[in-house]
């Protein structure tokens, strides 16, 4: 026995060493105990020394044996519809585990479990085996630390501050434990907001870039003095643009201004223009090519407006600006006229003239298309 003690002492050292090497798997203690027990059994069987690896493997096999036996017994218990294992389940598990070696009466299917050959063998071993207690006294493991719950309002004996909190809930911690927290939090939020503002500034500068491109784009499309002259309408258009700015190209943008005219009679002409723009993808030459008919239209509209000065007097500068940019002028002028309730008066002439204009524009367009198409195709 003294020898066994020496072995186990060495074993403990070794297991500690292994723990340090392999890191915590949580089961070293049980494995070390299993090794000691197996070493004691081997000693009683007649061995005096052992190879370390052999002992490890034998103890591993022992652990697996216990676990398999437990699993089998539990499964037999569950098969019988119970949760608590009884002796017969364990014996059935033993029979199954011993079926690879065979045992007495294994061939008899109808035998009573209580009279199983494994039990008889076990009793025989039990009567023959010498009683070797384990070398150490072991505390029950794994150690489960008892959690100390936070006392409730009821246990402390104080009333919960807000009435909607029931008394059985855990009490609040002392105020000094959380009083300082808000200042730290504020600091954190401050830094957060600062970061957020910085990010917003960045995005603002990013956003201003497409705006600038819009300006330059408009400049290339028409006269550079559009923005100041255009007044509130033009500004609104430019300010409204940033949300649309990134994905759109300038041709499409200008079209979007033209789309909402109130006059159905002029829409046809405008749509033709839009179609033309969409087809050509680059509206500047188109505008130039359509300059003469548009000029003609402008002059008509101006004349008509001169005739109705009383109504459209306020909008004079805006109308002049529209003269500068052909397409825009159409849409906005119509909008303005509708706003000023000059629609009824304007409708008769616009109805007649637009038909003439349509014819003119279509004729011109067909001509220009026939001449321009080869060029445009080459450009595309």
């Amino acid at each position: 026995m003294s020898h066994g003690g020496g072995e186990s002492g060495r074993l403990l050292e070794k297991s500690q060493h292994a723990k340090r090497k392999s890191g915590a798997s949580g089961d070293e203690f049980a494995q070390a105990i299993a090794k000691i027990a197996v070493a004691q059994i081997c000693e009683s069987a007649g061995f005096q020394t052992f190879q370390q690896s052999a002992l490890e493997i034998l103890s591993d096999a022992t652990i697996q044996y216990i676990r398999n036996l437990g699993k089998l017994a539990q499964s037999y218990t569950n098969l019988a519809g119970r949760t608590n294992v009884n002796a017969l389940d364990v014996i059935q598990g033993l029979e199954e585990l011993g079926s690879s070696q065979g045992f007495a009466d294994a061939s008899d299917i109808d035998h009573c479990i209580a009279s199983s050959g494994t039990v008889r063998e076990l009793v025989q071993y039990f009567s023959e085996a010498e009683d070797i207690p384990f070398a150490y006294s072991i505390p029950t493991f794994p150690v489960v630390r008892e959690r100390k719950p936070v006392p409730s309002f009821l246990q402390i004996g104080e009333e919960p501050p807000p009435e909607h909190i029931p008394a059985w809930l855990p009490a609040f911690p002392d105020p000094q434990t959380y009083v300082q927290l808000p200042t730290e939090n504020e600091g954190a939020t401050d830094s957060n907001t600062r970061k957020f503002e910085l990010a917003r500034l960045h995005t603002r500068t990013d956003r201003s870039l497409p705006n600038l491109q819009n300006y330059t784009g408009n400049g290339s499309g028409g006269p550079s003095s559009v923005a100041p002259v255009g007044g509130s309408e033009a500004k609104l258009a430019v300010e409204g643009n940033p949300f649309l700015a990134a994905p759109l190209q300038f041709g499409e943008k200008e079209v979007s201004h033209v789309v909402p005219p109130a006059k159905p009679s002029n829409e046809a002409a405008v749509r033709n223009l839009i179609d033309q723009n969409c087809l050509l993808d680059n509206h500047v030459p188109v505008l130039d090519t359509f300059a003469p008919p548009i000029e003609a239209m402008k002059s008509w509209s101006c004349d008509s407006e001169d005739g109705q000065k009383k109504v459209l007097l306020n909008q004079r500068p805006a109308v002049q600006f529209k003269i500068g940019v052909g397409k825009k002028s159409l849409g906005i002028a119509l909008e303005l006229s509708s706003q000023n309730k000059g629609v009824e008066k304007m409708s008769p002439w616009s109805g007649k003239d637009s038909e003439k204009d349509d014819k003119k524009i279509r004729a011109e367009k067909i001509l220009k298309q026939s001449t321009d198409n080869p060029r445009e195709l080459a450009q595309l």
Partner: protein
């Protein structure tokens, strides 16, 4: 008549078996197996086995002890057979090899009978002295 006699006999035998089993289980109460209860309980709990009865824990412990003892006995037989074969060749080593050693070689042979396949690596160094004395290792 004969039939009833048989059943009666078998009933008696069953009663005897039951009595033997209960006696065995109750005798486990006083027995302290080499494998400690705590260890067995720990691993049984890991495999889902739950039972407040100490006798069942002891039953498992005794069964495990029997298993280990059988394996160890087989390994010892292997060891003895190997040594006797060696001793036939080299008489002068007889004194030195008297102490039986639990080696991987014997253990793997013994465990194979119990359904455990142990493949020992060929050049696995069990101890620092493994490669020191090739003559004694070659045996």
């Amino acid at each position: 008549m004969n039939h009833t006699n048989n059943t009666q006999q078998s009933n008696d035998a069953r009663h005897d078996d039951d009595a033997a089993l209960t006696e065995f289980l109750s005798s486990l109460m006083d027995y302290t197996p080499t494998i400690p209860d705590e260890l067995v309980e720990h691993y049984l709990a890991k495999s889902g086995f739950q039972c407040p009865d100490v006798r069942l824990i002891r039953l498992v412990a005794v069964a495990t002890q029997k298993f280990v003892a059988e394996v160890a006995g087989d390994a010892l037989l292997q060891c003895r057979a190997r040594q006797s074969a060696v001793v036939k060749d080299k008489r002068e080593k007889q004194q030195k090899d008297k102490r039986p050693i639990l080696t991987m070689e014997d253990l793997s042979k013994a465990l194979r009978d119990y359904g455990v396949n142990v493949k020992h690596q060929e050049y696995f160094a069990d101890s620092p002295s493994t490669g020191m004395d090739p003559a004694s290792r070659d045996e």
